[in-house]
Amino acid sequence: MSAFRRFLLKRIAISIGLVLVATSVIFIVLRLLPGSPFTTLFTTGNIGPEQQQEILELYGLTEPLWKQYLLYIKNMLTLQFGYSIQSSSSVWSIIGPKLLNTLILLVPALVTTAIVSSVAGMYAGWNRGSKFEKLSIVVSTFFRSTPIFISGLLFLIIFAYTLNLFPPFGMRSTTAAPTGLADTYLSGDFLHHYILPFSTAVLYYSGDFLLLARNGVVEKKGSEFLQLHRAKGLTEHEQLARAGRNTMLPLLTYFALRLGMIFQGLILLEVVFGWPGIGQELVNAISQQDYPLVQAAVFIMALAVITMNLIADILYAYFDPNVNASGGSV
């Protein structure tokens, strides 16, 4: 167990290092780029040099760069994201609800597809060469390789504009003004807006899980432990359940990795469906050069990936006895 503990400590240390480096890269990119968030404001000419100086001082931009950097690192790591330049409210109060919106759209989609397409994939792998196998692979690969904004637009044209089944845009009707969480996320109006982007995300995610599960079962199919189970007289379904259980590990780690990519993976899905999530907010913030918002959103995206990578690594090392805990996978 001590080897595992050493592995754990090393991984955690590496992840902390990665967070620091990623945060620094965000700082460098934002500072290297020409112009400042106030360039547009200053070039309008309505602000005198003294006032310009005052604004820069207010935001701490007259300090030496290393001081700015230290302050920035400290603020980021303590999750103090400051105030948005465009709307002069705190960054948290802007991105908090957006993060929730993204999570509410994508976590259920990811869980649904992880369960449904993994089971479908196992079934397809067990019945190799069947029609179901071919069809499921073709369909899921099609949606996996079509860029999400293309399939999204396609669904919009068919289901929203031609058939008028679902609203094409946003999270709720323009007239709706819900108060409280339950009212926002549990109303029929929300569900009506939810189905189309949710289905698009489910179909987009399905390919990887399906193929992973299928390949796992195909690999296991000839193995000795299954022959033993057959000799014991287990039914086909019981055998499949045991083969499936042995393909869970890659699925589990892949799920963790996908969960880490949740904020940055499907930005265009949010843009296409006008879903008020973190991705759309970030795209808007970039076009408005709202630096505090941009750096906070990018930081959260990077943090999510690094954290879930760490968890996937640990899951792998913990569950798979073949993995050499001192040096990662064999």
Partner: protein
């Protein structure tokens, strides 16, 4: 002199025959043949597309017989794929836009897999600290979100084909790098690699002459993937910042 000439001719002939038989083999497989046709279509559009465009893509407005500008019109003989809200011909835009997509896809795909291949090869072959450093670097590029970072850079730098290709390569090499590395790890253990080392081959020679050819097929596969990804990323960038559509088409 004549002998060398002769042998060169013979080699060329032999190679040509090899290519021909490979090609015949390829055509027998239905999937491969249809893939070849699609690929040929893309090459054709990429090379000749702009010359085929019936109208200038941007500074031209399709008009009807009365001289009115057709805005958002459905497909017609004047504009087979319809028109935009400015009355521009979509077919022409499509044909002209094929070339930058073609270039970015090809360069981005090849660049992605070449960088990824080299990083994966080095990382897997040397192991130890080199591996650790390179793999943590790939982790870093995984953590930074592609689309926002690219958009951020492109808001300040005037987008052109070269910059978009560079950004794509900068963000996509990580995927082939990881796959090639894990493949190198298993090839490295094989006896012919060990015997090459034992007979005194240098690290570089072993890497490129003995290990690389055995993982090259994955590199080629990921070049194909890379082309698809590059095109998708470029399209995503254009979608999320529509002004890119215009500038990247010039």
């Amino acid at each position: 002199m004549s002998i060398t000439n002769f042998s060169i001719n013979e080699t060329v002939d032999r190679r040509f025959d090899q290519v021909k038989s490979q090609f015949r083999h390829l055509l027998q497989d239905q999937l491969a043949a249809s893939g070849l046709v699609i690929l040929a279509g893309f090459f054709f559009l990429g090379i000749f597309g702009p010359m085929l465009a019936p109208n200038p893509p941007f500074n031209y407005q399709v008009t009807n017989a009365q001289g009115e500008i057709l805005r958002l019109s459905p497909p017609s003989t004047a504009a087979p794929l319809g028109t935009t809200s400015f009355g521009q011909d979509i077919l022409s835009q499509f044909l002209v836009g094929a070339r930058p997509t073609f270039i970015v896809g090809l360069l981005g795909g090849v660049g992605t897999s070449v960088i990824g291949f080299l990083v994966g090869l080095t990382s897997g072959y040397f192991g130890g600290y080199v591996d650790e450093a390179l793999m943590r670097f790939t982790d870093l590029t995984y953590s930074l979100p592609l689309l926002p970072m690219a958009l951020l850079i492109l808001t300040f730098v005037e987008p052109n084909i070269l910059i978009i290709t560079l950004i794509i390569m900068l963000f996509l090499w990580k995927i082939p790098a990881r796959v090639v590395r894990s493949e190198v790890l298993s090839v490295k253990q094989r006896t012919f690699v060990k015997s090459a080392r034992a007979s005194g081959a240098s690290d570089l020679r072993t890497m490129f002459v003995h290990v690389a050819p055995n993982v090259l097929s994955i590199g080629v596969l990921y070049t194909a993937y890379g082309i698809a990804w590059s095109i998708a990323v470029q399209a995503s960038l254009s979608t999320s910042q529509s002004r890119l559509v215009r500038t990247s088409a010039c």
